[in-house]
């Protein structure tokens, strides 16, 4: 049983299905995961010209289904993981299984400041590819300084009149190549050492209240869109009390993707690790499926 239909889950599904394990993948939406919010993936090997996030997962899904992976659109509501027989409780019944691979991914972290909740859908966004086209010829702000923030800022320059990147430090975390592209983009302007205090507006975003963390000075920036890319929170709520999590809530595993409960594995963005990419997710998915297969084979013998 695989929970989550992003690149990690689909790869685990491909490997498990090819190993002739009867495998069901549960996904609460259509398969895809966060990669669907990515316009263009240019760091997944084998696609030298890049590939759209949608096409990439569509290919992964087709490949896994070719070997017999069953994908069901069901939402998991509870898990009973301890013991040899495990239960997955979904919105349309309970499924019993011997091994579970958790690949539920992560969701964008929110700023948790005034105005954010009220104005989500009215100019506050967590997906540039979804909402960028609504901001044609308007100034927008991107909050964050990692790869995602800067890449999404570059994407937004296609539509917006101006893109401010607001970052709490004095340098970016994004890789050099992306940084150089951003520096060479005339529509992008950096606002360093600065955090957002408040998003203002009633029925639409009107601006941001900013604070320089070095000088303490407060300023306002008139923008019509605010795009937030400050990291991810893991979708690990279902296992919060049963598995061992790191301080941010990501699931801890050993090098073979095994969690603290025998027969339960984790792969992809939901796992505690250093790098969250499609390239890392698929490797973990493959390893988790292989280890799940070995675990299931071991169940029948001796012990």
């Amino acid at each position: 049983m695989i929970i989550g239909g992003g690149p990690a889950g689909l790869t685990a599904g491909l490997y498990a299905a090819r190993a002739k394990l009867k495998t069901i993948l549960l996904e609460r939406f259509a398969p895809g995961g966060q990669i669907l919010t990515t316009d263009w993936v240019e760091n997944y090997p084998g696609f030298p010209d890049g590939i759209s996030g949608y096409d990439l997962v569509d290919k992964m899904k087709g490949q896994a289904e070719r070997f017999g992976l069953i994908i069901r659109s069901q939402e998991v509501q509870g898990l009973e993981l301890v013991g040899e027989k495990k239960s997955v409780i979904t919105d349309s019944g309970t499924i019993e299984t011997r091994a579970v691979i958790i690949a539920c991914g992560a969701a964008p972290q929110k700023l948790d400041i005034e105005g954010e909740g009220l104005l989500t859908g009215k100019g506050v966004s967590y997906c540039a590819t979804c909402d960028g086209p609504f901001f044609r010829d308007q100034p927008v702000a991107v909050i964050g300084g990692g790869d995602t923030a800067v890449e999404e800022a570059l994407y937004l320059t296609r539509f917006a009149s101006k893109v401010f990147i607001i970052h709490r430090r004095d340098r970016l975390r994004a890789i050099q190549l992306i940084q150089e592209r951003a520096r060479n983009e005339p529509k992008i302007e950096f606002i360093w050492n600065t955090v957002a205090l408040k998003i203002s507006g009633d029925t639409a975003v009107k601006g941001l209240e900013l604070k320089n963390v070095k000088t303490g000075s407060i300023s306002t920036l008139p923008v019509e869109g605010v795009f937030v890319f400050i990291g991810y929170i893991p979708n690990s709520g279902l296992v919060r009390d049963t598995l061992s999590l790191d301080e941010w809530g990501f699931i801890k595993t050993d090098n073979e993707m095994a969690t603290v409960i025998p027969g339960v594995f984790a792969a992809g963005d939901v796992r505690s690790k250093a790098l969250r990419q499609v390239a890392t997710a698929v490797g973990e998915g493959a390893t988790a499926a292989y280890m799940a297969q070995r675990y299931i084979e071991g169940l029948g013998k001796g012990s």
């Binding site: 939406f29 895809g32 669907l36 919010t37 939402e75 590819t129 979804c130």
Partner: protein, 107 residues
Amino acid sequence: MSDLLHVTDASFEKEILKSEIPAVVDFWAEWCGPCKMVAPVLEELAKEYKGKIKIAKLNVDENRQTPGKFGIRNIPTLIFFKDGAVSQTIIGAHPKSHIDGELKKLL
């Protein structure tokens, strides 16, 4: 044959605002990944609520007036209509159980 209705700027008033039964409109576009994730959920719900709630999609790329009128700035956005008035708005991709719960309130 899908039970989902496709509406446009031209048909919006007749199909949604003047609909005899409650209606839900999914504002979407080809460029939006999360919209594609929600699509199959809406297909299923359209089947389940057939004859009780009209579930429709509106492509914001081909129809600019209606999204502008409702101030759409994020997609997917679902707007629920009862007797021609907005009764609920759901922004972003949400699981079936959540959308289903909101649909029940329309009945």
